[in-house]
Symmetry: D3
Subunit: 136 residues, 6 copies
C-alpha cells in the first residue's frame, strides 16, 4: 500500500518518458522498477531524483560501483528503508558482490551498530588525535 497513486500510463507525459528512456539507456535494460513508476506522480521530483542517482551511482567516481552500492545498502539498513535495502542489495550483486562479501558487509554493519549504541550510551570524549582540523 503506497501513499501516492502511480500514473496508469506514465510515459504519456514526455518528461516522464525522457527519464524512463534515460534509465533504460544508462542501465542497458528495459526493466523500470517501481520507485520510478511511483515517483512519476510528480515529474519534477522524478527528474531530480533520477539526476541525483545517475550522478552519484551511475557515473564513474573515486569509489568503484560495487563499493558504492554496498555503502548504499549499509545506510539503507541503518535508516530502515525496506525498498532501498532490497533494491540496492540486488544492485550490489549485479555489480559483483559475492555471497561472502554480502555476509562480511552485514557483519561490519552489525558490529558498527553495536558499537554505535555502546558509545552513544557512554558519551566518551573524542580523542584529539582524530581531529582532522588540527594543524599537522
Amino acid at each position: 500500500m503506497a501513499t501516492v497513486r502511480p500514473p496508469q500510463d506514465p510515459e504519456q507525459d514526455p518528461r516522464v518518458k525522457a527519464v524512463f528512456d534515460d534509465i533504460r539507456a544508462t542501465r542497458g535494460t528495459d526493466f523500470i522498477n517501481n520507485v520510478w513508476r511511483y515517483l512519476a506522480f510528480d515529474p519534477a521530483l522524478l527528474e531530480s531524483v533520477w539526476a541525483d542517482i545517475k550522478a552519484v551511482m551511475a557515473t564513474p567516481s573515486a569509489l568503484d560501483p560495487k563499493t558504492k552500492e554496498m555503502v548504499y545498502v549499509a545506510v539503507s539498513i541503518a535508516n530502515g528503508c525496506d525498498y532501498c535495502t532490497h533494491s540496492h542489495t540486488a544492485a550490489a550483486r549485479a555489480k559483483g558482490m559475492t555471497e561472502a562479501e554480502h555476509a562480511d558487509l552485514l557483519r561490519v554493519i552489525g558490529t558498527a551498530s553495536r558499537l554505535n549504541a555502546l558509545l552513544n550510551g557512554l558519551h566518551i570524549p573524542v580523542d584529539a588525535a582524530f581531529d582532522a582540523d588540527a594543524a599537522p
Copy 2:
C-alpha cells in the same frame, strides 16, 4: 562528559592489561584511544567489544580493510554516533582512503539518505525481481 568513570590506572587489572596489550600488538602502535580506556570500567564488556572489533575489523575477510572502515563510517553517520564517525573516518584514512574517496563516500551517504526518506514516505511495493528467496 561521560556516563561512566574510567578507571584511573586501568592496566592494574590484568584482564584490562591483556586487552590493551592485544590492541597495541594488533595495531602496531602504543596509542590506546578513549573508547578502550572508558570501557575498562567493566573488563568483561571490554573483552567482548574488543573481541568483536578484532574479529570483524582487524582480521582478513571478504572485504578489504579500507572498504570495511568506509562502511563503518556510513553506519555510524546514519546512527548519529559522533565518536564512531570521528574514529573510523581516521581509521579509513589510515587504511588508505583518499580525500576524493571521502568526498565520494559522503556523496553516496547523502544520496542514499535522501532516497531512504523519500521511499519511506511513499511506501512503494518491492519489485518481485528483487526477491533473493525466489526460485531461479
Copy 3:
C-alpha cells in the same frame, strides 16, 4: 501481525466507549481506525494517547491543522513508522494538502535527510550566529 490482541468488543468497556465516542464527536465521523481499536487493549494507555493527540492535533493552536499534519508526516517518515506515515498523509489530505504540496513536502524531507547525513558526517561547528541563548 500485531504484538497485542485487540479486544473483540472494545466498547463494552465504558472507558473505551467514552474515548471512541469522543473520537467520533471530535472528528465528525463514525470511522474508528485501527490504532484506537488495538490501543483498547489497555484503556489507560488509550485514554492518555487520545488526550495527547486531541490536545495537540485537534485543538486550535499557533500552527494550522494542515501544517501540523505535514510536520507529523515528516517526523513519521524519519522515524520509520509505516502506520503513522499512512494515516497522517491521509489526514493531511483531508485537511487540504494538495498533490503539489505533498510532492513539495517529500522534496523538503528528502533534501533535509541528505543534508542531515552529510553534516553528521562532517561534524561542522555550529556558528555562533545561530545561538538563541546569546545576549542580543
Copy 4:
C-alpha cells in the same frame, strides 16, 4: 572538531567563489555559515549541495518558505543533526516563525515521536481506508 579540514582561503578556487557569490546574492547577506566553508573541501560536493538547497528551499514552490523550514527542522530533530537543527531553527525564525509557532512545532514533533514509537511497538495493520492506490 570536524572530520574534514576547511580550506584556509576557499574563494581562491573559482568554483567555490561562484557558489559563495550565489549564496550571498540569493540570501541578500554577506554571511556565509560554516557548512559552506567546510563543504568547500570538495568543490563538486559543495556545488551539488548548494544546487539542491537552492532549488528546494530558496525557490518558490507549493509550500511557503516558513513551512518548509519548519518541516526541515522536524526532520533534522528526528535524524539527530545538531547543526541542521540550529541553522534551520534560525532560518525558520528569519522567515517569520514566532515563539508560539516554535513551541507548537516542538509539541507536534514530540507527540508524533511518541506515537511513532508506540505504533512501531504494536505493529497495527494499516487501515484499507488509507490506501492512496485504491480505486476511488
Copy 5:
C-alpha cells in the same frame, strides 16, 4: 548552545512556579535540572511535559522505577538524545542501578542494536508463532 532562550527568572510566572514546586515536592529535592528551566520558555509545553513524566515515571505502575529508568536510557541511546541519556542514567543510579547492572544494560542494548541491523538487512519473514493476534 540551545535553540530557545530560557527565561531569566522563570518562577515569576505562576504556571512555571507551580510546576517547579511540584517537581521539588515529587522528587524531594530543591534541584531543578536544565530541561525544566529551558522548557519554561512556553509554560503550556512545560506543564504537559511534566504531567507526562510525572504520570509515567514518578507514579507507581506495573514496572518498578529502576526498570523504567533503564528502559528510558535504552530508548534515549537508540534515539541519540545526549541530554536524556545523561539525565536518565543518573536517575537510574539514584533509583538503585548498580555499576554491574549498568554494564549489563549496555551489553543488552549493544547486542540488540547489532541484531536489529542484521535483521533489517535480511528482512526475514516473521514466524507465525509470534503472532499475538492469532486465535489460541
Copy 6:
C-alpha cells in the same frame, strides 16, 4: 521477501547443526525460529550471532531475563526492527511479562521518545550534576 536465500536443508552443514542443537538445548524446545534458518546462509555469521545472543540473553547476569527482554524490545522499537520487536515481545512474555507490564513498557517507550525529540530540538546544556566522570 528476504535479501538472502536460506539453505534448504541447513543441518546438513555440521557447523549449522551444532548451532541449532545448542539453540534447542539452551531453550529447551525444538522450535528454531526463522532468524537462525536464514542466518544459516553463512555459518560463521550464524555462529557469532548465536554466541552473542547466548552470552548476553541466555546466561545469568546482573539483570534478570525478563528485564533484559524488555530492554531488547525497547531498543528494537526505537531502531524500527519489526522481526526483533515481534520475537522479543514474545520472549518477554515467555519470561513472565504480564499484559500490564507490556502496556507500561510501551508507555515508558512512548514518553521517552517524546522527550528525546523535544530535547534534540532544544539542545539544552547537560547539567554538571549528571557528570559521572566528575570528582566526588
